[in-house]
Amino acid sequence: MNNIDASAHYEVEATGQTPSLLTLIIDTNPRAWAALDGSLPFSKAVANILVFVNAHLAFGNDNQVAILAAHSNRAVWLYPPPPGRHARHGSSSGGDRDGDVEMAGANGQNGDSARQGAASSANKYPQFASIEASIVSSLRSLVSETAASSLPATTLVAGALTTALAYIHKTSLAYAPPKQSSDPANPTTAATVTATQTPTLHARILAISVSDSEPAQYIATMNAVFAASHARIPIDTLSLSPHASPTFLQQAAFITGGAYLSCAANPSGLLSYLMFGFLPDAEARTHLVTPSQDSIDFRAACFCHRKVIDTGFVCSICLSIFCEVPEGSECLTCGTKLALGKYGAKPVVVVRKKKKKKRINGLTGREETGSATGTPAPT
């Protein structure tokens, strides 16, 4: 508890161990979990995740955890419970401790393991118990607020990533060494503060994904991914579903130096995957060989036909991608009239004939530079 409300940073110097913040994003798309129900019911998955979270917290006294749910139409905090719900949550968490029999009632699948876990909380390390109570009650309210009609097949991973990054940023600010603001002259401090932003806190994001990436969220997801890469926060991804491929998260793992694993072949082994693949933090990973990806699909989807292409045309103004030269060579997005280059470029080894020089001056192709004269020597 102390860790969460940021009071812990006053004791950091004493312990000497770098705290590690694990931000967990759980994809809670109801459809995808329904499809997985045979091999890995949601309740079991939550129980496994809780074991993993507890293992992370047990690693160090200062370790922290934050858990978000990426639902089909919103992203919500599960573990530091949002204070807006405080009144409701305060009363319900008190009820959870002892009389949590009605807990399983909200969702039929919210089965045995979760109930047992919460019921034995009197004998538990209080932090584990409070996290568990918070997650279970948050998930219950999330599920009960979800209407059965119009459930999209995707989740708001971008929103969850964005919120997680903002939280990590705030937490790392609390841990950051006191800035020498009165001494901006020292270039070494100025450079290191921005470059290695969180030397006092190892933050990482783990996304447990069951659904496909939503193309509409591409830009938002990539903005978040680049912000993570800027702050050196690895985004790990565990894909559970055999029916979905979270392409964006796969790219995110590559860009941020995180690990990507797919346990689609055997989803019931979720806990093993979590424990062996994702438990070590950034510091420990330098000594380990992390699971690597053989090949990553980096092909892009064109804006005109939504075809996946490997060679395409890009508007130099708005960077829209097209699979063929658009009609009238006008950009479909920004409407700019585009000049066409010579795309059947010759191999560079071919010696240019002298004759060609004349044509270059008249054309507005790639080679055109605006100044017809060569670079004159200084006079």
């Binding site: 508890m1 409300d5 139409n73 919103r74 992203a75 405080h86 305060g90 968490s93 979800t146 119009s150 999209p152 929103g159 964005t162 903002a166 939280y167 940023h169 705030k170 006191p178 800035k179 603001s181 009165s182 901006p184 002259a185 020292n186 270039p187 921005t194 939503e214 591409y218 903005n223 978040a224 680049f226 912000a227 053989d294 090949s295 990553i296 980096f298 092909r299 892009a300 060679t311 890009v314 508007c315 130099s316 708005c318 960077l319 097209f322 950009c331 585009l338 000049a339 066409l340 280059g341 191999p347 560079v348 507005t364 790639r366 530079t369 605006g370 100044s371 004159p376 200084p378 006079t379």
Partner: protein, 459 residues
């Protein structure tokens, strides 16, 4: 749970910056003019170089100075969120003054070392903001221009070359004309769809030129090169003229650094792609690009990459000719197709679709939220004392609202979202109110109320 949070509301949220803890005490001692003990005064003498500025602002009250620094940062955020056409594909030559003038110690430790440190930062930031752009670095020393690094799209190259130059003492006269001529040469091959820019860091008050610099300036204008200058000592007429003429009469690209932090800010401002001028729009063109996937060499084999002739196992295969390159973005060495990752394009989109500024929330509207929507930091609750000591330039309730989704955020999240993230956590996390994306697909219109109340879906 509820207890501990409530406590922090009073404690932690009342001053909205963690940094305030750190700065305030030392500042307060400075305010009580004669009071500080000997040890403290010595520390202040070492730390603060421009005492007159501090004193001037101290007259308003000590807290205010810190707040205005914060407000200034936010003020910088408030500009240009109108979507503009920007030159995303840039070709920039950075010209560094390495003349005798850079040995001055008015910026600590000295101008040269400080510039070098900030240049390294600049290079990183430039390629972060402009992943498909090119950069070259030129130095001015001994009356000539020296090439530090060639035009290249790889930050590692530049940083490597720069380290060799850090230790060299600045010496000789600077020559603006020689540097500009070399810039023209470096930018000569830049294709017409990209921008051509020169950024000069100029510490000297003179230029020792071999010929008429006005001829060079007109040649630079003819080549459509835009020049911006960051001066370190004082304004120089020729630099002002150079900037004004090459930017179509707009002299705002010439600025003088007042102190170290200002120099850094001025440099990093240039990493944002420049808005396209109307007269340049006809240079838009359609570029052919390849989006190769990352592949591993089959079996136990090892490939040589075509770009560096180095053995690698992983690589990217040119989508047109099949040569393997080890690193992107690159130009295929075989067929000179531009090879990039689609994510590099995505990195530039935020320049084209910037996040809208968030607005201050008055106390009358602050009751809606008790904590920052994104990071869950508690907000201060209303009190007479807080309202009277409202900081200048900042939101009086320490809340900032996104106008689209209506959620409230703290100033840290505001700065982070606008400077680094370029996403609004609130808008991205709730599509219940916004009829876009998946809501469009099946034609259902969701309720248009974005507030975080109960979920209602009309189908």
């Amino acid at each position: 749970m509820a207890d501990s949070d409530g406590e922090y509301q009073a404690n932690d949220g009342s001053d909205d910056e963690f940094g305030d803890h750190q700065v305030a005490p030392s500042n307060r001692t400075r305010g009580q003019a004669g009071a500080p003990s000997k040890g403290q005064r010595r520390a202040a003498w070492e730390d603060v170089t421009r005492t007159w500025e501090v004193l001037e602002e101290n007259e308003d009250g000590t807290i205010k100075r810190i707040e205005t620094a914060e407000a200034k940062k936010r003020a910088r955020l408030m500009k240009d969120t109108t979507p503009l056409q920007r030159g995303i594909i840039r070709h920039l030559v950075l010209v560094l003054d390495m003349s005798f003038a850079m040995a001055e110690k008015d910026l600590l430790p000295n101008r040269h070392e400080l510039t070098m440190a900030y240049t390294r930062e600049f290079v990183r930031e430039y390629f972060e903001q402009n992943p498909i752009s090119q950069l070259g670095i030129i130095g001015m020393r001994d009356g000539v221009a020296v090439r530090i690094s060639d035009m290249s799209g790889n930050p590692a190259d530049h940083l490597e070359m720069l380290t060799d130059w850090v230790k060299k003492e600045p010496q000789g006269n600077p020559s603006l004309q020689n540097a500009l001529e070399m810039c023209r040469g470096a930018l000569f091959h830049a294709p017409s769809h990209g921008t051509r820019e020169v950024l000069i860091v100029y510490g000297a008050l003179m230029s020792s030129d071999p010929g008429d610099i006005h001829e060079t300036i007109s040649a630079v204008i003819k080549d459509r090169i835009r020049v911006s200058v960051v001066g370190i000592s004082a304004q120089v007429a020729i630099c002002a003229e150079l900037c004004a003429k090459t930017n179509g009469g707009d002299g705002s690209s010439y600025s003088i650094a007042l102190h170290e932090q200002h120099l850094r800010d001025l440099l990093l401002d240039v990493t944002t792609p420049p808005a396209t001028r109307v007269t340049e729009q006809n240079n838009a063109s359609l570029l052919m690009m390849g989006f190769p996937s990352r592949t591993m060499a089959t079996g136990d084999t090892i490939n040589y990459c075509a770009c560096h002739n180095r053995p690698t196992r992983e690589g990217y295969e040119c989508t047109r000719c099949g040569s393997r390159v080890c690193r992107l973005p690159a130009e295929c060495p075989g067929c000179s197709l531009t090879l990039i990752l689609s994510t590099h394009l995505a990195r530039s989109y935020h320049h084209l679709f910037p996040l809208r500024n968030w607005v201050d929330v008055p106390w009358s509207d602050a009751g809606r939220s008790t904590a920052c929507y994104a990071c869950l930091t508690p907000f201060p609750v209303y009190s007479r004392q807080l309202a009277e000591h409202a900081p200048v330039g900042l939101s009086e309730s320490a809340r900032y609202a996104c106008e689209v989704c209506g959620n409230h955020f703290c100033i840290d999240c505001d700065l982070f979202a606008h400077e680094v993230l370029h996403n609004c956590p609130g808008c991205q996390s709730d599509t219940r109110g916004v009829p876009d994306g998946e809501a469009d697909v099946d034609g259902t219109v969701l309720q248009t109320n974005g507030s975080a109340s109960a979920m209602e879906i009309d189908s």
